[in-house]
């Protein structure tokens, strides 16, 4: 969309690693500080969306292909639900993480981490998928606009 502005390009290139690191920090530090899978997923998706805005959606699609995104959306839910089922199979209640570790406490901790990772996967990929869908339509509209450059009856 804005491929010609050098300041934006440079600033975004500098910012992107920071945003992604922050997302990972929020993700894996979520059980000590504020944050968790949802916040981290949104931040990571925002980083990719920023990249897509400045460098064009095709570039963003090269970084995170839509096929990967479409796999990730259900994958996150499956990770979450699968953790619950794992607890079930190991002889406890659904979504009780206690049997996942050597001690119930460790199991709970591990379970929280895995579950938050599932949330991250689904949230970030859903945001990206919606962005791709809208952005792709905008690009198509652009192309259509270019094709017929005349006769635009504004009201």
């Amino acid at each position: 969309m804005m491929r010609d502005t050098i300041i934006l390009r440079v600033v975004v290139k500098l910012l992107l690693p920071a945003i992604l690191i922050f997302a990972l920090y929020v993700q894996f530090h979520g059980d000590y500080g504020p944050g968790g899978g949802f916040q981290a997923g949104v931040a990571a998706a925002a980083a990719i969306i920023l990249y897509g805005m400045i460098f064009g959606i095709p570039a963003a699609k090269q970084v995170v292909p839509p096929s990967v995104v479409f796999v990730m959306i259900p994958l996150g839910v499956l990770i979450y639900a699968g953790t619950g089922v794992a607890g079930l199979l190991l002889g406890d209640n659904f979504l009780d993480y206690s049997p996942l570790g050597s001690k119930p406490v460790y199991g709970q901790h591990l379970g929280i981490l895995i579950v938050e990772f599932g949330v991250l996967v689904t949230v970030s990929s859903t945001m990206l998928a919606i962005f791709y869908a809208f952005g792709g339509r905008a690009d198509e509209a652009d192309a259509a606009e270019e094709a017929r450059k005349d006769g635009e009856g504004g009201s």
Binding site: G36, P104, G111, V115, T126, E140, G154
Partner: protein, 175 residues
Amino acid sequence: MVVTVIGIIRAHNLFAVVMLGGVYSFLMATVLVILDAVDVSMTEAAVGAGISSVLLLAVLHLVRMREAPLRHTPVIPMIVCLLTGGALVYGTVDLPPFGEAGGPQNQHVAPYYIENAEHETHSPNIVTAVLASYRGYDTLGEVTVIFTAGIGVLVLLAARRRREDDEDEQKGGAA
């Protein structure tokens, strides 16, 4: 925030409306920080101000920049808004004061979480422990909602595109 809302109502340029919406979200995020809800604030800043503004701008790219003229007087929506708002305000009258230690909201399960969350889950952040472990079902439901919403939007957009491909042109994409 009130000024922003009035600006949103008065503005007829939709670009300005989207930008003011972002401003409103950032103000809301600030309020949430003051209320000590840093994680909610992060979400509000990223989703409300960031991603939804981008999506709305993408939509603006498809539709026209100006607000369409009203086709009928907005009396009935006004009445609905006033009634709903009045009911909500009426509901808050009975709520216990915010942050009161003896209030029922702080007497039910909260003391249990505060006492046991850390040694039961090894997670010093009680919010995370509650969300992911004690209330795991709710969060699973939330993730499923996001999943469903994403799939729904994708299906809608894909269906429209296919129909537009079938029909031949002559459709500025204004929906």
